[in-house]
């Protein structure tokens, strides 16, 4: 089982990445950590003619409290935890061997509806910065996830940076249920709760994973329409989503 043949290129600047994408269009795929794309290529679900490796682009490697480069590995984020929600979520993502290669930008751009980092982007109202031939544009997380493995990124754009706005008097929490530690979540829920000076809740958001074609923002779990599959029934997912939602709302409230 091997990927179909391709040309491998490893640019070192974002300008070169954009030029390569402009030249090759939909024939090119960007690889960062490769923890989702390489399995898809091995199974020949993806057959790019050109593989553009952004692992050597230094400008994608910064970590700060308000901004994270798209190429930063999940293991680095777990260690440095620039945002409290990342500290809670990162250990839930697969296994150390995956997190040592997988990146934050790769996970968000891959947009698996059961993945945690897209939900983090929605919970934090992250700004996703993309570079393309026309320059830079900023996409709000709520506008980014369109469908299963489909985002607002154009084929000639690359995700470069994830910006985290500051939320005052706000707590976050995330939980998920999976068969074994590190497996894809059957269902997960994250909460963001903001309180006023008196401690009363003034704003909250719930985001669910594993219940639709994208991570889902909902008022509560009763709005969800998950599907049955071999791992769990829709009814089970919906029930667990409700239990998790209650739990993460209370936890986020206590942290606000």
């Amino acid at each position: 089982m091997r990927p179909a043949p391709f040309d491998y290129v490893a640019p070192t600047t974002i300008e070169e990445v954009v030029a390569l994408l402009a030249e090759h269009g939909e024939d090119a795929k960007i690889v960062a950590g490769g923890q989702s794309l390489i399995p898809m290529m091995a199974l020949r679900l993806a057959r790019p003619a050109v593989l553009v490796d952004i692992g050597g682009v230094d400008s994608l490697q910064h970590v700060g409290p308000g901004s994270i480069g798209a190429g930063v590995t999940q293991a680095t984020l777990e260690r440095e935890a620039p945002h409290p929600l990342l500290a809670e979520v990162l250990p839930l993502i697969a296994h150390p061997a995956i997190r040592n290669r997988g990146t934050i930008g790769g996970s968000i751009a891959h947009a698996d509806p059961a993945a945690e980092l897209p939900a983090v982007a929605l919970l934090c109202d992250a700004e996703l910065v993309a570079r393309g031939p026309a320059g830079e544009r900023v996409i709000a997380a709520v506008d980014f996830f369109e469908s299963y493995l489909t985002t607002a990124l154009a084929p000639d754009e690359v995700l470069t940076e994830i910006r985290f706005p500051t939320h005052h008097r706000t707590g976050f929490a995330f939980r998920e249920v999976s068969r074994r530690h590190g497996d894809f979540a059957l269902v997960g829920a994250g909460a963001r709760v903001t309180v006023d000076r008196a401690g009363d809740v003034v704003d909250q958001r719930l985001v669910f994973i594993g219940v639709g074609s994208t991570p889902v923002i909902a008022e509560d779990a009763s709005e969800l329409e998950p599907s049955d599959d071999v791992h769990a029934t829709a009814a089970y997912r919906k029930h667990v989503a409700g239990v998790l939602a209650r739990d993460v709302l209370l936890t986020a409230r206590s942290r606000a």
Binding site: M1, R2, P3, A4, P5, F6, D7, Y8, V9, A10, G34, Q35, I38, P39, M41, A42, L43, L51, D53, G55, A75, A94, H95, P96, A97, I98, N100, R101, R180, H181, G182, D183
Partner: protein
């Protein structure tokens, strides 16, 4: 289709190979460098058999291209062999019979070597979580959990 010259340190020795862009690190280790201790199971990042250390950190060598390992330092299960002196993970697995067919063992040994380096005194629960990314179809894991705990003891005793 592109071909690439790669130079990497493998188990402390400089090695070179010519690889196709699509060749995984696992295949390059086994085919080009003839280090067949690294086993290839599922070939899409699920089973953990092909786990090696890259710059000291465990990675799935079936999910890393050989060309991406250019300039890096790779440790395979062969790198834990030092003559008659068994590495503590090997010794622990030997004492607890932490294998049956042995196919998954190289990946579990490498995962465990990295895990115990970061957590020398794990609880049983932590040991089980550390093994969650490595599939074993024979043992039921009980003897592997015991082997990891014995290896931790041996490492603490120095």
């Amino acid at each position: 289709m592109s071909e690439h010259q790669v130079e990497l340190m493998v188990n402390g020795k400089p090695r070179r190979a010519t690889v196709e862009g699509r060749q995984t690190l696992a295949d390059a280790l086994r085919v080009e460098l003839e280090l067949t201790g690294t086993h290839v199971g599922c070939e899409h990042g699920v089973c953990g058999s092909c786990t090696v250390l890259v710059d000291g950190a465990p990675v799935r060598s079936c999910l890393m291209l050989a060309v991406q390992a250019n300039g890096r330092s790779v440790t395979t299960v062969e790198g834990l062999a030092h003559g008659a002196n068994m590495h503590p993970v090997r010794q622990g697995f030997y004492e607890c019979h932490s294998f049956q067919c042995g196919f998954c063992t190289p990946g579990i040994v490498m995962t465990t070597a990295a895990f115990l380096a970061g957590n020398p005194s794990p609880t049983e629960h932590e040991v089980r979580e550390s093994l969650a990314g490595n599939l074993c179809r024979c043992t039921g894991y009980q003897s592997i959990v015991e082997g990891v705990q014995r290896a931790a003891e041996l490492m603490r005793e120095g």
